[in-house]
C-alpha cells in the first residue's frame, strides 16, 4: 500500500480543534453542531426534556458523571419544576438553573461550544436551554479515581503519608489544606491543543516574585503540543532552554514538599491526570534534600545529606576512576590492594574497561526488565540476574570480583538520590568511557566540563548551582547541613534572593 504523506497530514489537520463558536440559540442547531464536533461519539449522552414549556438538553459524557447525583439533584427537580406563566419560558428556566435553586456546588456558565464540550468532558452535566445564548454547567463528577495514598517514589519515615493523586482539584485541595492562607494563589491554564489538559499554577503571593510567576505562565502558554498526559511533558518548557543532563524544574509526589517549596518562593505546577507536581525553579542542591531532613534531628539530617552527596559522587566517578587507575596508573594503587585489583584484571579475558561496560549494561538490563515486568516476575528476574548470572560470571572468570562489587556498590548508591537516577546513569557511563580511554586525565577533564556545564544552567534567571555557587553564606544553614528550626526560623529563605538571580520585579 502506497503511503500518502499528503493524505496523512490532512488527517492530522482534522485532529486540530476547530475555531470556537458561540452557542446557537436554536437547540436543534446546537445539537447538530455538537454531534458534528464530536463525530457523533458514542459516549456523548444528550437527554432531551421539556420543562415549563420549553425544550432543553442535558449534555454529558458517559463515565464522567455520577448518574445518581444527576438523577437526584438535576433531573428530579427539573421534572417537578413548575413556573408561573409570567416567569416561565426559556428565560425563566434559565434563571431557575442559574440562581433559583441549588443544583450543584460547582456551577459554571458556558457561552461557546468549546466550553460546553470542555465542561462535559470534565464531569459536568451541561444544560442547554432552547432560545438561550448560554448554558449552565453543573459539576457532578463521578468517575472512579485512585484515592490519596502514600507516595511510592518519595517514602519518608515521619510526617505525612499523603501523596498527590490523579485528580487535579483534589491535589489543589491537598495543598490548600496545608496552607490556609489567602496568599496561596491558584491559576488555571489549559495545555495541549487536543487534550486541553487542565494545568494549575500555584504560588504564594509575597514569596514568589511576580516576574517568576509571569515567566512560568508565559512559558506554559507557549506550549504547543497536541496532547499533555503528564507533568513531564511540560518540564522541558520550564527548563533552561538548552540541552543539559540536569533539569531546572523538579517534581514531587508529596503535597507537603510542594508546600515547603511554595513557601520558599517557588511556583508549583499541577497537571490533571498525574500525581507529580512540578516545582520551578529547582536548585541542584535540592536533589539531596528530603522531607525527612526536617523531621529528623539536625545532626542526623546533616549526616544523611552528606551521605547522599558522597553517594552521588561515588556513583558518577567511582567506576571510571577505578578503570582509569587499573588500566593506566596501577602505580597509584597501594601495595595491599595492588595484587587484588591487578590480579582480577589479569585473570579475566576482557580489559577492565570492557569488563566494566559489560557488568554495567548487564545490570541496567536486569533493572529495566525487573521494572517493566509484573512484580512477582520482576523479583525472580532480579534474583536470577543478580545471584545466578553474577555469581556464574565471576566463577567462570568472565568478570573480576572487584568489578562486580564496584558496579553493585555504585548501583546501590545511585538509588540514594532517586531524582538524579537518569543523569547519574548516563554520566557514569560517560566517565567510564573517559577513564577507559584517557585515564585519570579523562576523568578530571570530564569533571571540569561537567562542573562548568552544570554551573551554566539557570532556570528562569536563577542559577541551579546556587547558593553553593554563586555562594551565599546565609543559605549554608540549609544546604550541606540542616540547622535547627530555631536557627531556620530567624529569617525565611527565598529562592529569588539567591545570589546570581536575575531580579525581575517586586513580589
Amino acid at each position: 500500500m502506497k503511503f500518502d504523506a499528503g493524505r496523512c497530514s490532512d488527517a492530522y489537520e482534522k485532529l486540530e480543534p476547530e475555531a470556537d463558536r458561540l452557542l446557537p440559540e436554536n437547540l436543534e442547531d446546537f445539537l447538530v453542531e455538537l454531534r458534528a464536533r464530536t463525530g457523533n461519539s458514542d459516549d456523548l449522552v444528550v437527554q432531551m426534556h421539556s420543562v415549563a414549556g420549553c425544550q432543553l438538553a442535558v449534555v454529558m459524557f458517559e463515565g464522567q458523571i455520577s448518574n445518581q447525583q444527576v438523577s437526584q439533584l438535576l433531573l428530579g427537580p427539573l421534572g417537578r419544576l413548575e413556573l408561573p406563566e409570567e416567569k416561565g419560558g426559556s428565560q425563566g428556566v434559565m434563571n431557575w438553573l442559574r440562581s433559583g435553586s441549588l443544583l450543584a456546588s460547582d456551577q459554571k456558565e458556558a457561552r461557546t461550544l468549546d466550553e460546553v464540550l470542555a465542561f462535559a468532558m470534565s464531569g459536568f452535566a451541561v444544560v442547554v436551554v432552547d432560545g438561550q445564548k448560554s448554558a449552565v454547567a453543573l459539576g457532578y463528577q463521578g468517575f472512579s479515581t485512585r484515592g490519596v495514598g502514600e507516595p511510592s517514589s518519595e517514602v519518608n519515615l515521619r510526617g505525612s503519608r499523603e501523596g498527590f493523586c490523579e485528580i487535579i482539584t483534589l491535589n489543589v485541595a491537598l495543598v490548600r489544606r496545608r496552607i490556609k492562607s489567602g496568599l496561596l494563589t491558584v491559576e488555571s491554564l489549559d495545555a495541549g491543543r487536543v487534550s486541553r489538559t487542565k494545568v494549575k499554577l500555584l504560588y504564594l503571593r509575597g514569596a514568589a516574585s511576580a516576574g517568576l510567576v509571569r515567566a512560568v505562565r508565559e512559558r506554559l502558554r507557549q506550549v504547543d503540543i497536541s496532547v499533555v498526559l503528564d507533568s513531564a511533558y511540560l518540564q522541558p518548557f520550564l527548563d533552561g532552554g538548552r540541552f543539559s543532563f540536569f533539569s531546572g524544574a523538579g517534581s514531587t509526589e508529596r503535597p507537603d514538599v510542594l508546600c515547603a517549596k511554595l513557601a520558599e518562593g517557588r511556583v508549583g505546577v499541577l497537571v490533571d491526570g498525574t500525581p507529580f507536581a512540578l516545582i520551578v525553579p529547582f536548585l541542584f542542591a535540592e536533589h539531596f534534600q528530603t522531607m525527612d531532613d526536617y523531621t529528623h534531628r539536625p545532626y542526623f539530617a546533616a549526616f544523611l545529606r552528606l551521605l547522599r552527596m558522597v553517594s552521588f559522587i561515588a556513583t558518577v566517578f567511582l567506576p571510571g576512576y577505578y578503570v582509569a587507575v587499573v588500566t593506566y596508573h596501577p602505580d597509584l594503587i597501594p601495595d595491599l590492594l595492588l595484587s587484588t585489583f591487578v590480579g582480577s584484571v589479569l585473570y579475566t579475558p576482557l580489559p577492565a574497561f570492557w569488563e566494566a561496560v559489560l557488568v554495567f549494561v548487564l545490570y541496567e538490563l536486569l533493572r529495566e526488565a525487573g521494572l517493566r515486568l509484573p512484580r512477582p516476575i520482576g523479583h525472580a528476574v532480579s534474583i536470577v540476574g543478580g545471584l545466578v548470572i553474577g555469581d556464574a560470571a565471576v566463577t567462570a572468570g568472565l568478570v573480576g570480583l572487584p568489578m562486580v562489587i564496584l558496579i553493585a556498590l555504585t548501583a546501590v548508591t545511585s538509588f540514594v538520590v532517586p531524582s538524579l537516577y537518569q543523569p547519574v546513569t548516563v554520566l557514569r557511563l560517560l566517565f567510564l568511557v573517559a577513564g577507559g580511554t584517557l585515564g585519570l586525565y579523562g576523568i578530571y577533564l570530564g569533571l571540569g566540563i561537567f562542573l562548568v556545564d552544570l554551573c551554566s544552567l539557570q532556570t528562569l534567571g536563577i542559577p541551579v548551582t546556587a547558593p553553593a555557587s554563586p555562594f551565599d553564606r546565609r543559605s549554608m544553614r540549609d544546604l550541606f547541613i540542616r540547622s535547627s528550626w530555631k536557627k531556620l526560623q530567624r529569617s525565611d529563605l527565598r529562592v529569588g534572593d539567591v545570589p546570581g538571580a536575575q531580579k525581575k520585579d517586586d513580589r
Partner: protein, 361 residues
C-alpha cells in the same frame, strides 16, 4: 552569549587566583644554570611578592577609577580603527598567554604521565573541552571556579600533608648569592603576574559593583603565600634533588604519601588539569570577546569553536617545531606581557584622551 561578564568581584578574585595557581604549580625558576636556580628561586620568591603587590596595586587603582576603565569595555566602545587595533593587540597578548598555557599543559602531561606519541590526543581533547567551557560563558566558569576553589583547597591540604611527611630540615640550605641569577629569579616571579594583571584590566568592568580592594589584596597575599609555601615545601621535601627537576612540585608530590595514598601525584594531576581548564578557558573566552570587538560583531559559538581549533593547531605547531622553550622564555622573561600590560594601555589611554579632547573642543 547572553549576560556575559556579570560576575561578582569575589568570583573574579577566585578566577584570578586559580589562574595564578596554575602557573605556580609548575614554576620553573630558570632555564639556565639549573644547579643554582632552586636556591635563587627562594630569594626571588621572597622579593617578588613585594613587586607583585606594587604592580597589582597600580592595576587595581586603574580599575577602580571607573567602570569604563577596562580594556575590554574600552575596545567595545566606538568603532575607531585605533580601538580595533588595541583590541587586536590584546587579542594577540591573550592568545600568547593561552598558547603558552596549552603548550605547557600538554607538554607536562606528555612528559609526566602519558606517552608523548599521544600528545595530539591530549591537545585535541583539552582544546575541545576548553572550547566547550568557553562557549558556556564566563559566568558559568566563574561559578564552577568557586567549587573548584574548594576542591583545590582539599588538594593542596593533601599535598601539603603528604609533603610534610617527607620533609627534612637538612634540605634547607642558605642560598648562594649570585647577583645575575637573583635578579633573573625576581623578574621571572614578577613577570608571571603580568598575565594576572591582564585579566584584571580586561575583566574589571564586567564585575557587579566594581572591584573590591580587600579582595585583590587577599588574592595577592594568598598567591604570594602559596608561591613561597610551595617553594619552601619543595625545598624541604626534595632538597638538591628537586633543583634538577623541571617540575619540582610534581616530583615532591610523587615522593609524598599519605595514609591510604601511595603517591600524591594523582592529586597533583587533578589540580593541574582543573586549574589548566579554568585558566585557558578564561583566556580563550577573553580572546573570543576581543575578536568580537575587532570585527565589531557579536560573539558566536562558531567563533569560539574556530578559536579553539586555532589554538589546537598553534599548540601542535609550536610543539612540532620545539618552540615550547622559546615561548616559555618569552613569557617568563616578560617581554610579551610588558607589551600587553604597558604598551597597549598606553595606546588605549592616549586614544581615549585624544577623543575626549576632541569632544571638548
Amino acid at each position: 552569549m547572553e549576560r556575559q561578564g556579570l560576575i561578582s568581584p569575589f568570583q573574579l578574585t577566585v578566577l584570578l587566583f586559580l589562574s595564578r595557581l596554575f602557573t605556580i604549580m609548575t614554576y620553573v625558576p630558570a632555564m639556565e644554570g639549573q644547579e643554582k636556580n632552586g636556591l635563587v628561586l627562594l630569594l626571588g620568591l621572597l622579593v617578588s611578592p613585594l613587586a607583585q603587590m606594587a604592580l597589582l596595586g597600580l592595576g587595581l587603582l586603574f580599575c577602580r577609577r571607573g567602570r569604563e576603565n577596562s580594556h575590554l569595555s574600552f575596545s567595545a566602545a566606538g568603532t575607531g580603527p585605533l580601538r580595533r587595533i588595541v583590541a587586536a593587540g590584546y587579542w594577540l597578548l591573550v592568545g600568547a598567554v593561552c598558547l603558552y598555557s596549552v603548550v605547557g599543559f600538554i607538554r607536562f602531561l606528555a612528559e609526566a604521565f602519558y606517552d608523548s606519541r599521544f600528545l595530539w590526543v591530549l591537545a585535541a581533547t583539552f582544546c575541545g573541552a576548553v572550547g566547550f567551557c568557553a562557549n558556556r560563558g564566563v559566568e558559568a566558569l566563574a561559578r564552577a571556579s568557586t567549587v573548584l576553589l574548594a576542591l583545590t583547597a582539599v588538594g593542596l591540604i593533601l599535598l601539603g600533608g603528604g609533603m610534610a611527611g617527607t620533609a627534612d630540615p637538612q634540605n634547607f640550605l642558605m642560598p648562594l648569592w649570585d647577583k645575575n641569577l637573583f635578579l633573573q629569579g625576581i623578574w621571572q616571579g614578577v613577570a608571571m603576574n603580568f598575565e594576572l594583571m591582564a585579566i584584571l584590566l580586561l575583566q574589571s568592568a564586567t564585575t557587579q559593583g566594581g572591584l573590591r580592594t580587600g579582595a585583590v589584596w587577599t588574592l595577592l597575599g594568598l598567591c604570594s603565600l602559596l608561591t613561597v609555601g610551595m617553594g619552601l615545601g619543595v625545598t624541604f621535601s626534595l632538597g638538591y634533588y628537586g633543583q634538577g627537576k623541571e617540575y619540582p612540585l610534581f616530583s615532591a608530590a610523587q615522593a609524598a604519601r599519605l595514609l591510604f595514598m601511595e603517591r600524591l601525584d594523582s592529586a597533583f594531576l587533578g589540580l593541574w588539569i582543573l586549574l589548566g581548564l579554568v585558566k585557558v578557558t578564561l583566556f580563550l573566552w577573553l580572546m573570543t570577546q576581543l575578536w568580537g570587538k575587532v570585527l565589531q560583531r557579536p560573539v558566536t559559538g562558531l567563533m569560539t569553536a574556530v578559536h579553539s581549533g586555532g589554538l589546537l593547531a598553534a599548540a601542535l605547531l609550536v610543539d612540532a617545531f620545539h618552540g615550547g622553550g622559546w615561548l616559555t622564555r618569552s613569557m617568563t622573561m616578560g617581554w610579551v606581557p610588558v607589551l600587553g600590560v604597558f604598551f597597549l594601555p598606553l595606546v588605549g589611554f592616549s586614544a581615549a584622551r585624544h577623543e575626549e579632547r576632541k569632544k571638548k573642543a
